[in-house]
């Protein structure tokens, strides 16, 4: 292979990106060396097994990926702003909408949700860490390795360009001969293994490590949503594993699963992809429902209305999510009978979702609603998501879907579901739990300004797409002619996208400003909230709770504050904590190189990396690390320091 094939050439924007990547990397390396932070970085972050720090790393990565995916989105909207625009050519546009989809779903929404899970779940159930802290670090680093592998594709070798759905035979070596889709299969595979491990880890954590007295039906709603989400991960991700493996075999080893000759079946890929892909949507939306439940209940100063039906509706949604996937391709011609069945199962999801909407509304009934920034996102979610939901029902009707399929109507629908559903939720959760992690709140005024900018711009961006879709504009077109009449609405949408970008800039500024100037919160409970995580200090000490809490009902901290219940019974005892380890990050680096060599079919280095991975597993197997114990004296000191007493 020649160097000009290895690096992507001929595109000024990509040269710019290359230069900025090199400059940014150099700046980070020089900065770390100059400020002598290498040791700190290694000891406190790269080797950490603390769920809170892992959560923070997930969230930082997700914010970076939000930037990457957002720039992709802006470029797309820029290209479509006017007819026959020349900002991007077809190939570049195709790569950008592909990476936009993959990055936003798999490297932004998922890690953001998993980051919040990491931060919150052990605290919310009164545990000191997750069940398998080391595995948790492995999960994070594998996700990170996968994300980095995917992201280097646009400068080295070329990005995937067959859509985030990568339908065959388009994604086959015959029609997509660049290495782009090799990156797709390998990076998602590596990140996917991490996600599967997260799923297992959190199921065990939630099932086995809850505080004394916290029965399943006394778990906070966010914990419930995460439990159900992890069960979906457990059953959905292996399907993706298989699909991606078959894709890799087809592309790298010449197998015939999805090819056009020798019996290959292209729609098999579509089936496998969506058997994973539809549950995946619920993997990112159910935790969002959990986050909203916490926030709406907290800021209405009221317990969650219809707790049991909230739990059951999530269980029903999770079951239905596995039996609706064929609605993604009603148009493949599997007849009225099959389409009818899938239409009904799909529309049935509206019922439990509606139950949740009404329960949220009635949680506010007779409440005392406070319009804080997290609450504003939760409140904006209800009307916007309902539009996403009802258009989802419209799309579910097979006969009508023949007219919506592959159009901007569909694009508008899923953005109306995923942005208020997931993006608003993770931002709301970020604002809500931020003081728990860092000990101060993000500035409310700036936060509200960012909120209004984002919420309004969102509608300006995506509402026009419904009409464009009904007017016959298909998705993934890199250009359109003036005679189509698509120009004006596209221009409005593009203006909205600029507004979204401004909103996110304000949000980032808000974080920066608050780090410098926001007043410290010493209470540990700045929102007057209800669940266990608020009963410990902010920032949370590494062991989370000096004494393991005892719980008698829902909203235990609220009850405790009302004087009904003693959360911490007993005295300080030695706390057993896991040791940090450099193995997870080393393992992930090896996976990264293995993936990279596989992408380019460089077999010898790939095999060497594979053997190195096995050696790392063996090292782990032979290791005997039983953690360490924090002595009572140290706990007492930490506790009094966190309470603000002088030691």
């Amino acid at each position: 292979m020649k160097w000009d094939e290895f690096f992507v050439t001929g595109e000024p924007m990509i040269y710019g990106a290359m230069v900025s990547i090199v400059v940014a990397t150099l700046a980070i390396l020089i900065g770390l060396t100059y400020f002598k932070k290498w040791g700190y970085l290694w000891r406190e972050w790269l080797t950490t097994v603390d769920h809170k720090r892992i959560g923070i790393m997930y969230i930082i990565s997700a914010l970076l990926m939000l930037f990457r995916g957002g720039v992709d989105g802006l470029l797309m909207r820029g290209q479509l702003a006017k007819p026959e625009n020349g900002l991007l050519d077809a190939q570049h546009y195709n790569e950008i909408f592909t990476t936009h989809g993959v990055v936003m779903i798999l490297f932004m929404a998922m890690p953001f949700v998993i980051g919040l899970m990491n931060v919150v779940i052990p605290l919310q159930i009164g545990a000191r860490d997750v069940a398998f802290p080391r595995l948790n670090a492995v999960s994070f680093w594998l996700f990170f390795a996968g994300a980095m592998l995917f992201n280097i594709s646009f400068v080295i070798g070329g990005s995937p360009d067959a859509g985030w759905t990568a339908y065959f035979p388009l994604a086959s070596i015959e029609f997509s001969p660049t290495v782009g889709n090799n990156y797709y299969s390998l990076s998602l595979q590596i990140a996917g293994i991490g996600t599967l491990m997260t799923g297992i880890n959190f199921i065990v954590t939630i099932l086995k490590m809850r505080a004394k007295g916290m029965t399943l039906m006394k778990m906070p709603m966010f914990t419930w949503s995460v439990l159900i989400t992890c069960v979906i991960i457990l059953f959905a991700f292996p399907v993706l594993t298989v699909a991606l493996a078959l894709m890799m075999f087809d592309r790298l080893f010449g197998s015939q699963f999805f090819t056009m000759a020798n019996g290959g079946m292209d729609m098999l890929w579509a089936n496998l992809f969506w058997v994973w892909g539809h549950p995946e949507v619920y993997i990112v939306i159910l935790p969002a429902f959990g986050i909203y439940s916490e926030i709406i209940s907290t800021f209405s100063r009221k317990n969650l209305y219809g707790y049991k039906s909230m739990v059951w509706s999530m269980i029903v949604i999770s079951l239905l999510s596995f039996v609706v996937w064929a609605h993604h391709f009603y148009t493949m011609g599997h007849g009225a009978m099959v389409n009818g069945v899938f239409s009904i199962t799909t529309m049935a999801i509206a019922v439990p979702t509606g139950v949740k909407i009404f329960n949220w509304l009635f949680t506010m009934h007779k409440g005392k609603i406070e319009f804080t920034t997290p609450m504003l996102y939760a409140l904006a979610f209800i009307p916007i998501f309902t539009i996403g939901g009802v258009t989802g029902v419209m799309l579910a009707m097979a006969s009508a879907d023949y007219q919506y399929h592959n159009t901007m109507f569909l694009v508008a629908h899923f953005h109306y579901v995923l942005i208020p559903g997931t993006v608003f939720a993770v931002i709301a959760g970020f604002y809500y739990w931020f003081p728990k992690l860092f000990g101060f709140r993000l500035n409310e005024r700036q936060g509200k300004l960012a909120f209004w900018t984002i919420a309004i711009s969102f509608n300006v961006t995506f509402l026009p797409l419904f009409f464009l879709g009904l007017n016959g504009m298909t998705r993934r077109m890199y250009t359109y002619s003036e005679s189509t009449g698509y120009g004006p609405l596209n221009l409005i949408a593009s203006i909205g996208a600029v507004g979204l970008a401004i909103g996110f800039i304000i949000l980032v500024y808000n974080i920066y400003w608050s780090f410098r100037y926001a007043p410290r919160d010493t209470t540990g409970d700045p929102w007057n909230a209800r669940t266990l995580e608020w009963s410990t200090h902010s920032p949370v000490p590494e062991y989370n709770f000096a004494i393991e809490p005892t719980v008698t009902g829902l909203d235990p901290f609220w009850e405790a504050k009302k004087g009904g219940h003693q959360l911490y019974q007993g005295k300080f005892e030695e706390i057993h904590m896991p040791n940090n380890s450099g193995q997870p990050v080393i393992l992930a680096i090896l996976f990264f190189f293995w993936g990279f060599f596989m992408v380019f079919s460089w077999w010898t280095p790939a095999i060497i990396s594979g053997i190195a991975i096995l050696i790392m597993l063996a090292v782990r197997s032979f290791e005997r690390d039983h953690g360490r114990h924090i002595p009572v004296k140290e706990i007492q000191e930490t506790e009094s320091r966190l309470r603000g007493e002088q030691v």
Partner: protein, 198 residues
């Protein structure tokens, strides 16, 4: 560390029982993985292109050997757990060794089977049917290979440390894994080989 001495050693600490639950969940994921591979196989099994069909390449002899050794190894790994519960290190080591040797025999026969197929012109690239066959069998074979490496390492650890909280937990989890591979093989034997030869 909180220990509940009424439980078998491998379940005794909280970490140990968490690990076992975690591994059961992992096996749940593995069931989905193999189900998907079976689904792919059934979707493609009559799409033979210009290549041979199952009945043309399957031979009952090697398959019976594979089935026999794998089933026997599932029995011997059960004996390992039994010995472990009784606190008998030496018999456990012997049965563990037999299990791994049987696994190795299985793997050897399977590799020979693959070589035969390739010599008959039935390769991964020939047809959709053969792709799905090789990947289904290969995934199972890769699991056995990984199991052999894992089991080999574990054997050394037991030899060195005896049955501790750690090693007994690992051994128990390994036995779950090994039984699982046996169950998958029974499905492969029934729905791939027997069905294909009929």
């Amino acid at each position: 560390m909180k220990l509940d001495n009424t439980l078998p050693l491998e379940y005794r600490s909280e970490e140990n029982s968490n690990r076992i639950l975690g591994f059961w969940l992992f096996l749940g994921a593995e069931i989905v993985l193999f189900s998907t591979l079976f689904a792919v196989y059934f979707a493609l099994w009559n799409r033979t292109g210009n290549g041979p069909g199952g009945h043309e390449i399957f031979e009952i002899g090697p398959v019976l050997i594979e089935t026999f050794v794998l089933l026997t190894s599932s029995f011997t790994i059960g004996l390992v757990i039994n010995s472990m519960r009784l606190g008998l290190k030496k018999p456990a080591l012997i049965f563990f060794g037999i299990t791994l040797v049987l696994g190795l025999v299985f793997l050897g026969v399977e590799i020979m089977e693959f070589v035969t197929y390739v010599h008959e012109g039935a390769t991964l690239q020939t047809s959709a049917f053969l792709s799905s066959l090789f990947v289904l069998l290969g995934t199972h074979g890769a699991h056995v290979t990984l199991g052999l490496l894992w089991g080999g390492g574990l054997l050394l650890q037991i030899k060195k440390e005896g049955f501790t909280l750690d090693t007994s937990n690992k051994t128990f989890i390994f036995s779950l894994y090994w039984h699982f591979l046996d169950v998958v093989w029974i499905f492969i034997f029934s729905f791939v080989y027997l069905k294909g030869m009929m």
